[in-house]
Amino acid sequence: MSDAPYEPIVGRYLRLAIGDQPHRLYVEEAGEGIPLLCLHTAGADSRQYRALLNDAEILGRFRVIAFDLPWHGKSSPPAGWQKAEYKLTARAYVETIMAVVRALDLDKPAVIGCSIGGRAVLHLAIEQADKFRALIGLESGAHADPYYDLGWLHRPDVHGGEVCGAMISGLIAPTAPEADRWETIWHYMQGGPGIFKGDLYYYTSDGDVRTRLARIDTGLCPLFLLTGEYDYSCTPDDTRALARQIAGAQVTVMEGLGHFPVSEDPQRFLAYLRPVLAAILEGAAAPQTPRSSQP
């Protein structure tokens, strides 16, 4: 047993209530130190964070925790799910994150989220900043307009797994390693019917925070924004536009990365993440003027 080539990741199921509804969520974690809660992208699951959850340097300083949203990965949909269309709302998303924080008794965790998770950290910055140590938004914008008919993602004459995988494949940078590219696509191919589309309801409609950004106080909780140059869903310009509205938000444009930096090219991404984690460790991560890297 002790000689088995296990990774350091431990996965367990968490029983908790979100709103009034009992849920069973799948949670993975590894490491010890500052809690770092990881939020996956729309239509995917916590497997995206496998590189963080396996990085010895990070695990020595951080307790890395990644959970699957309800309806995603190994988390169950709640009882009665079959009776209505799945649509992720801003309220449900924030409630889910806060329920996990409470259930795991996390003391001022840092949160890293990508895409819809990158939007969720903005909701946390607006509504719950005092409960978090730092927020990291990957591929984070205040709003996104749909650039294709989302109806194609969930209809009986188009295979959901095939179209979701093919649709997001272009959001990966062309330089990504083949194995990591195709594992990222595989996660999307495994999503439940209509779940990616339902998450995009939050991304393109209900999660619009454009009018609420003035409430973000990066003095209370530092905000780091990192976006890949090949991301055409949330472009570097979208993130720069977001950062112009938030004093103290720190922007990094990541070369050779797309919309899924954590899973499409983990080592390239970790080179961008390590200085952010170092700043969180130093607790000296709240400069008062925005800084922007040149693409």
Binding site: A166, L171, P174
Partner: protein, 127 residues
Amino acid sequence: MTTGVIDRLAELANADAWLVERGRFLDVAFLIEVGDMPYLVRIRRGRIEAIERGPHVMPRWTFALRAPHEAWAKFWQPVPPPGFHDLIAMIKVGALRLEGDQQPFMANLRYFKDLLALPRSNPVRPA
């Protein structure tokens, strides 16, 4: 350069057994426009049966993909620049127009993305 790229597409596609296999339920004629040159591509069971270079008289097609020379030239670079590295990306940035009945395109999206990316790894040699 984009000259001659589409003319080679049948040879490249039909030599790719896994692409043809994945297209085995696909029967469609679609139009691809490279600048002002239209090509009618006829696919049967995943194989390209014919590519008819325009101009056409009264062509019939299910969907059309239209982009300028410069956009396709960027798309077919070995490492394309952001916005030109994917068909949906080119639609997002306004470089590519998708017209007609999108159903066969969406139902076989990976097929069409892979098909049109074939010239990227198989560049045309200068004449």
